[in-house]
Symmetry: C2
Subunit: 309 residues, 2 copies
């Protein structure tokens, strides 16, 4: 009987360590394809339509999920701007290799010609961090160069510090992060100028600028845009800028035109198995599984819901 309890306790540990370390009972460790193939409907969530931003370019469509839990004032302003069709006909003004794609009003610095912000706020508080206790957190156990702790919060890669250090959490500048451009003053952004990280994750920007969400689909559209040849990838010639057809909130896109998307939940055993599949790559090709993975090298999967769901 005691032996039975001991066994049960060991099994419990084994199940925990499976998630971020070893394989179960000698079974072959799972690849990411295995993990995704074994997910069920409850391993996925459907983002709120009011949290989705559809960016339409001639080159294709980009869908962003906003993160109101981390940047409530910016997200509220971005929703206002989208409802006013503020960005329609404005432009991508910057495409910098290994860094960002950025869009907004090329005339925003010119009071006479700048597009009206309408009902939107002109200036917002910096939303660089939030109280760690206010947001969900699934921790990655492998450490990080930039922050004391890293992991995921409702699908977004995040970093945080301990309660003793300040008890703050923040969105991390991983590839596909979306942020709000600002001038030198920390509180000089209003969400009308947005950027997407398209290169090696510039984590030194964390806590220096407000992140507002991440791209769910369409990174290949942004990544393939022609690079700007001016300093920092800005287009010096207005004719080279890339026109924005429209930016809409998901809730304002006609139902027939919406892309049905689901994001893998990051607070589940299935996601822990996914992380493990990236920590130790077991596809036949790999000869040296590392046993660790960097935050920004774990993709948080996005799918169109299967017909049976």
């Amino acid at each position: 009987m005691r032996r039975g309890m001991f066994t049960a306790a060991c099994l419990g540990l084994a199940l925990v360590s499976t998630a971020f370390g070893r394989s179960e009972g000698g079974a072959r460790p799972l690849t990411m394809a295995d993990v995704l193939g074994a997910t069920t409907a409850s391993d996925w969530r459907t983002p709120e339509l009011a949290d989705l931003l559809y960016l339409d370019l001639e080159a294709g469509r980009v869908v962003i999920e906003l993160a109101p839990a981390f940047a409530p004032a910016h997200v509220a302003n971005i929703r206002k701007l989208a409802r006013q069709k503020y960005w329609d006909g404005l432009a991508i003004v910057r495409v910098q290799e290994n860094y960002v794609v950025q869009w907004g009003d090329p005339e925003s610095g010119n009071a006479d010609r700048a597009r009206e912000l309408g009902a939107a706020e002109r200036q917002l508080p910096a939303e660089f961090t939030v109280a760690a206790s206010a947001v969900a957190f699934t921790r990655l156990p492998d450490g990080d160069v930039y922050a004391p702790q890293v992991g995921w919060s409702n699908g977004f890669p995040v970093a945080r510090e301990s309660a003793a250090d300040g008890d703050q959490a923040w969105l991390a500048h991983c590839y596909a992060a979306v942020g709000a451009g600002r001038e030198n003053a920390a509180d000089s952004s209003n969400g009308s100028e947005l950027y997407v990280v398209t290169g090696h994750s510039p984590r030194h920007l964390d806590r220096n600028i407000t992140l507002v969400g991440r791209v769910l689909t369409g990174m290949e559209v942004l990544g393939g845009l022609p690079r700007g040849r001016g300093p920092m990838g800005f287009f010096e010639d207005a004719a080279q800028r890339i026109a924005i057809r429209s930016i809409r909130l998901g809730s304002d896109v006609p139902e027939a035109e919406r892309v049905p998307l689901q994001v893998m939940r990051t607070d589940t055993p299935a996601f822990e198995r996914l992380v493990e599949s990236r920590r130790n790559r077991r596809e036949e090709w790999f000869v040296h599984p590392v046993g660790k993975v960097e935050l920004c090298n774990v993709p948080v999967p996005v799918r169109q819901p299967p017909p049976e769901d």
Copy 2:
């Protein structure tokens, strides 16, 4: 007198910690622009012409520096292939968003139609690591998720382990790294199929595949190529592949057509200052200098030599 000695000892410490930590005597910490502006000719080296590979596409030119210290057999074979003009008229066969651009012979798997390798070897040993003692090493003090130690060796980002762990060093899969594609067998590469990392650094590939060098200039050419729409970014339609005009060794490029390039030395106090300028960003825009930097977020500068040199 004792006090004088104590002061001298403290100064010594201060100078050491300047390189990777604090500022000297209250002086404003340097930005990268400051550091580069203060370099002298001896802070730069000119790569050997036989270590340079010029890749010419319609979209522009890419210049790669090969790393014979890390992959001697692969580099020797790549030199043979370039001298035979092996790649001329072949193609970029894969452009995968946030991962790699890859080129070679689309018919390499078809014995009847594959291009002849001529004097080049068909198969090479895996060159995943070298003895750490055989290569230079300037250490980055900020740690790393994937390897016990990271830093630079003659301009290349590298990782290594301690003598007790195996005493090996290896090139790191940072953005702009160039590697030799292989099949499942570790020794199935020959350097005829090459790839360049164009996205967030896939460090899990370290020690799984042979890296042969890094791109010095032209990443914006590769980064802006249209993405392949097949699995893993391969072009499914042969017409979508991107033609290679030519690949030449620098020593075979007519002098008038060469790009005069210098690479910042990574074993100098100037480079230590550059790293420090990336660890603590002091440009006015930044409000939160991190005090740390990830290996792949430190650019190793490349320049055209100034007229006065």
